[in-house]
């Protein structure tokens, strides 16, 4: 009689742009969670487009505005917890609660709610699908847009650094933090499964998703760009569990960032020298706490020094 479960969890047809990795990602997530899952979604490419009628996503979801996804996830898990304790839901049921939100909804307008839910260690897997700008509204910069990137609101390149979101989340002391990207699907799958099986608490996955439309690269290059982000050291893949950081994909022979940046027209205004500078940075610093052109200061002095170095090198 469970007719709904004979439907595939991720069905045919969706509204994402050609070359968008979100179909792959949603299918993978639902494969890991199975039908016993619920999601809060953000007002994003990753969320709204997933549930526009008719939706390919066949699990229950709730969308409560732009700043809401972390708090909505917290509300779902709080309700499930108390309803199980009260006997209104089966005590032994296992439902994976997760959030699918974008970079702006996560690191800009939703940051307070995100930090609050993490600090309370509310239960769920928060997946930040990071395409490095407000793509759903047409490519406006966010705090996760990398330095130098063109967007419609940073016409001559973004002057500021990208927030190191995964490290910010790790600083909350939550049970699990990981970076991932669509080009390393096996790595992503392992991390999703680990987050699913870790037990109650706030799990955070920062998932880089190349956007052909916003990053200005050919639609057949999505997975290649994703892999290049890792291979050039721009997007290190790691996980932090119990306070210990572990690199999950070791890059033995790092490629020059040129290979990642040159196919993307959002960086087309950069000269070779600037790109070399970025590459030197990554080489010097190691890639661990760097996320594209993002030397994260450990102290104010340190940051200032590095900023000067970027400008004068």
């Amino acid at each position: 009689m469970k007719e709904e479960h004979t439907q595939p969890l991720f069905d045919k047809g969706n509204l994402w742009c050609p070359g968008c990795p979100l179909g792959l990602i949603w299918r993978k997530i639902l494969e890991v969670t199975g039908p016993m899952a619920m999601a809060s979604i953000g007002s994003t490419c990753s969320g709204m487009s997933a549930v526009l009628h008719p939706s390919p996503v066949n699990i229950p979801t709730i969308h409560i505005g732009m700043p809401g996804p972390a708090a909505a996830m917290a509300g779902i898990s709080a309700a499930l917890e108390i309803l199980r304790k009260k006997g209104k839901r089966r005590a032994d049921e296992k439902i994976t609660v997760f959030t699918m939100a974008g970079d702006g909804g996560t690191a800009d307008i939703g940051m307070a709610a995100l930090s609050g839910a993490a600090e309370r260690n509310d239960d769920g897997i928060y997946i930040c699908f990071d395409n490095e700008a407000y793509m759903n509204t047409g490519i406006q910069r966010s705090s996760l847009t990398p330095r130098y990137s063109w967007t419609t609101t940073t016409i001559s390149g973004k002057p500021q650094f990208k927030k190191n979101l995964a490290m910010i989340m790790a600083a909350h002391g939550i049970p699990y933090v990981a970076t991932a990207t669509v080009g390393y699907m096996a790595d992503l799958t392992k991390k999703l499964k680990k987050a699913r099986d870790l037990g109650s608490g706030f799990k955070f996955i920062h998932l880089l998703g190349p956007c052909p439309v916003g990053w200005r690269f050919p639609t057949n290059m999505t997975l290649e760009i994703s892999r290049l982000a890792v291979e050039t050291g721009i997007w290190p893949l790691y996980e932090i569990e119990g306070g210990a950081l572990r690199i999950t994909t070791d890059i033995k022979h790092r490629k020059h960032v040129r290979e990642y940046m040159r196919p993307q027209k959002r960086f087309s205004h950069l000269d070779d020298e600037t790109i070399n500078q970025i590459d030197r940075f990554i080489a010097e610093r190691g890639s661990l706490d760097l996320q594209i052109c993002t030397p994260q200061p450990f102290s104010a002095d340190d940051g200032e020094r590095r900023q000067r170095q970027v400008d004068s090198d």
Binding site: K2, M36, I62, A74, A79, E119
Partner: protein, 396 residues
């Protein structure tokens, strides 16, 4: 048959906490804000002592408080939250979400002025700012009404004919911190009155996947809004049934309108909330002077009980609306509603509006009476006067 119940000396904020506790909410996200804070403190105490089996979420903002209440309610938990002033403003976008999703959660709002300038004292502008958001709004005039309305609000809001969120509003300090004797109903009586929340219309459950909070096009938006209107319109009927049942059990429970010497009144005051206190005294004093004054107090602002108001005001000559709030650039907010609702009535013939008591400014019955007398005399003498006046502004 009235049931025995305990009487306690408690504040309006504690009455809100007791009302919530008796309704057995399951998820309670609240952010502290003066003058609401003693409600959240009392609720945490109830949970800590095991008197209330609920999950308290110590949220980082009011915005998240309402987000969590909405999503928890969507999972099927009964929820409660409380706020005031800036907190209600910070929740504002989510007011529309809760109503649009037809989730019957309940909030207690302690009315407090909105900055700037900062005031912690009453002005109803905070909750009235949400008047177009599709929430049922009750305005209590004492602690007992706060408790009673919270219990009734769940029953009305959860009724299948209504399915809307509700706000129980009361003025900061005047009600929130004033200690009064309050009848606390017995839990088993409330349990019999208010069954568990088992939603069917909007529910997050893996056994029947549903996307909640989706994008619609022009073919659906109007119908969504219209259905909210239908639910809101049904509130009158449902509230009436619920209030009768409440009265049968507990022997009290004011309806959408309370009248005071209104039957034969030629001069009628209309207000909501604690302003009815000094207004009642002024009515008695005016009666002593031979003027047939009366008062109508609204406890229900949304839906606006215009028809009921018309029934009790139809004989009055003059109507003065007392507003502890103002829509800058227009009039007092209640005045706008009253004049619209009574526009096609033959009587009252004249409407006046006082803006008073803002930011906790004391309203002395004797001053109020003097001002009313002045307005009334000018009217009877046929002198022209502005319909809207700010009462007691220093330097005027």
């Amino acid at each position: 048959m009235a049931v025995e119940s305990g009487k306690m000396m408690i504040t309006g904020n504690y009455a809100a906490a007791y009302g919530a506790k008796l309704a057995r909410p399951e998820v309670i996200p609240i952010y502290p804000i003066t003058p609401q804070t003693s409600t959240v403190e009392k609720i945490v105490e109830f949970i800590d002592r095991g008197e209330l089996f609920a999950r308290f979420v110590p949220v980082e903002s009011e915005h998240s408080a309402l987000t969590i209440a909405i999503s928890a309610q969507a999972v099927g938990a009964r929820t409660f939250t409380a706020s005031s002033s800036q907190g209600v403003a910070y929740m504002h976008e989510n007011l529309f979400v809760a109503s649009g999703l037809r989730l019957p959660l309940v909030i207690s709002i302690v009315n407090r002025g909105l900055a700037m300038p900062i005031s912690i004292l009453p002005d109803q502008g905070d909750s009235l700012g949400g008047r177009d958001a599709g929430w049922i709004q009750y305005y209590a005039a004492n602690a007992q009404e706060v408790l009673d309305f919270i219990i009734r609000a769940y029953k009305v809001g959860e009724d299948r004919r209504v399915l809307l969120p509700s706000a129980v509003c009361f003025e900061g300090f005047l009600i929130s911190h004033f200690t009064e004797a309050v009848e606390i109903p017995r839990q088993e009586d409330v349990d019999a009155f208010l069954p568990e929340y088992h939603p069917n219309h909007v529910i997050l459950d893996p056994s029947r996947p549903m996307h909640i909070g989706i994008l619609v096009n022009e073919h659906y938006y109007t119908e969504y809004r219209y259905q909210q209107k239908v639910g809101m319109d049904s509130t009158f009927q449902v509230l009436d049934e619920v209030t009768r049942e409440f009265q049968d059990i507990w022997g009290r429970g004011v309806g959408p309108i309370e009248t005071y010497f209104a039957d034969d009144a030629e001069l009628l005051l209309v207000t909501m909330g604690a302003l009815s206190g000094p207004a009642k005294i002024a009515v008695r004093q005016l009666r002593e002077d031979g003027i047939r004054a009366g008062l109508v107090r609204l406890t229900l602002f949304r839906p606006f009980p215009g028809k009921m108001l018309a029934e009790v005001t139809g004989k009055a000559e003059v109507c003065i609306v007392l507003d502890r709030n103002v829509s800058i650039g227009s009039t007092g907010i209640l005045y706008g509603e009253v004049t619209t609702a009574l526009a096609n009535q033959e009587k009252p013939k004249a409407f006046f509006n006082y803006i008073l008591g803002l930011g906790g400014r004391d309203v002395e019955p004797v001053d109020l009476k003097r001002t009313i007398l002045n307005t009334y005399r000018c009217y009877t003498e046929g002198k022209e006067q502005e319909p809207v006046s700010w009462v007691g502004v220093r330097g005027l």
